[in-house]
């Protein structure tokens, strides 16, 4: 069973509302990733962290999302102003190292923007 815990499992927001989701990575994993999986099951990388530092993020994330991984608190991903196209499954994942290591995924937060 996945040891990456994501909350909430389901989230419904109106257009323009903020949408916040949280992730507790597997214990001892310093690297955290966020991906978006759309209704066609396609993955899009959003952002990753090592400890509290951002390693890489895409343009959309930088402009419309707020993400952080504070020490001793869950990581979070927040859409500042939800759009219909943001409806998707948001997957958090963690790993021990950056490269060539198993990445463990949570079950995701399914966001529906109405």
């Amino acid at each position: 069973n996945s040891k990456v815990i994501q909350t909430p499992r389901y989230l419904v927001k109106g257009q323009g509302q903020k949408a916040k989701m949280r992730c507790i990575p597997e214990k001892g994993h310093p690297v955290v990733f966020w991906y978006q999986q759309n209704k066609n099951n396609e993955f899009k990388f959003l952002i990753n962290f090592q400890n509290q530092e951002v390693l890489q993020q895409i343009d959309m994330t930088e402009k419309r999302f707020s993400a952080e991984c504070p020490s001793n608190s869950p990581c979070s991903l927040e859409i500042q102003s939800s759009e219909a196209g943001d409806s998707a499954l948001y997957l958090c994942a963690s790993s021990l190292e950056q490269l060539n290591t198993e990445v463990f995924f949570g079950k995701g937060t399914r966001l529906t923007v109405v």
Binding site: S2, V4, V31, F33, Y35, N40, N41, E42, F43, F45, N48, L55, Q56, L91, S95, E97, Q98, L99, N100, T101, E102, V103, F104, F105, G106, K107, G108
Partner: protein, 111 residues
């Protein structure tokens, strides 16, 4: 940029027949390759990853060989089982570890 191509969106076959899911990739660098499997309403899980010493990874009867000359990492299994029905993703990573996924292949195994 990096990309991963999985040519089959849907594969349906009968239990006991061999499985082969195609994966080719493009990358400026020498990436690591992975296969992830996702069952319905479950989190994606690692199935296989490439080795730097070119050993062939195997897990749950699946294996894959990294061919750098053809930029391929096809997934194979000699005999499909009903429980293999799932969504399979090929992915690559390098640098910060970000995974670039293919579009996925839905494998359905019928009795």
């Amino acid at each position: 940029g990096d990309s991963v191509t999985q040519t089959e969106g849907l594969v349906t076959l009968t239990e006991g027949l061999p499985v082969m899911l195609n994966c080719t990739y493009q990358s400026t660098y020498s990436p690591f390759l992975f296969w992830y499997v996702q069952h319905l309403n479950e989190a994606p899980k690692l199935l296989l990853k490439s080795f730097t010493d070119n050993k062939r990874p195997e897990h749950q009867g699946f294996h894959a060989t990294l061919h750098k000359s053809s930029s391929s990492f096809h997934l194979q299994k000699s005999s499909a089982q009903l429980s293999d029905s799932a969504l399979y993703y090929c992915a690559l990573s390098w640098g910060t570890g970000k995974l670039t996924f293919g579009d996925g292949t839905v494998l359905t195994v019928k009795p």
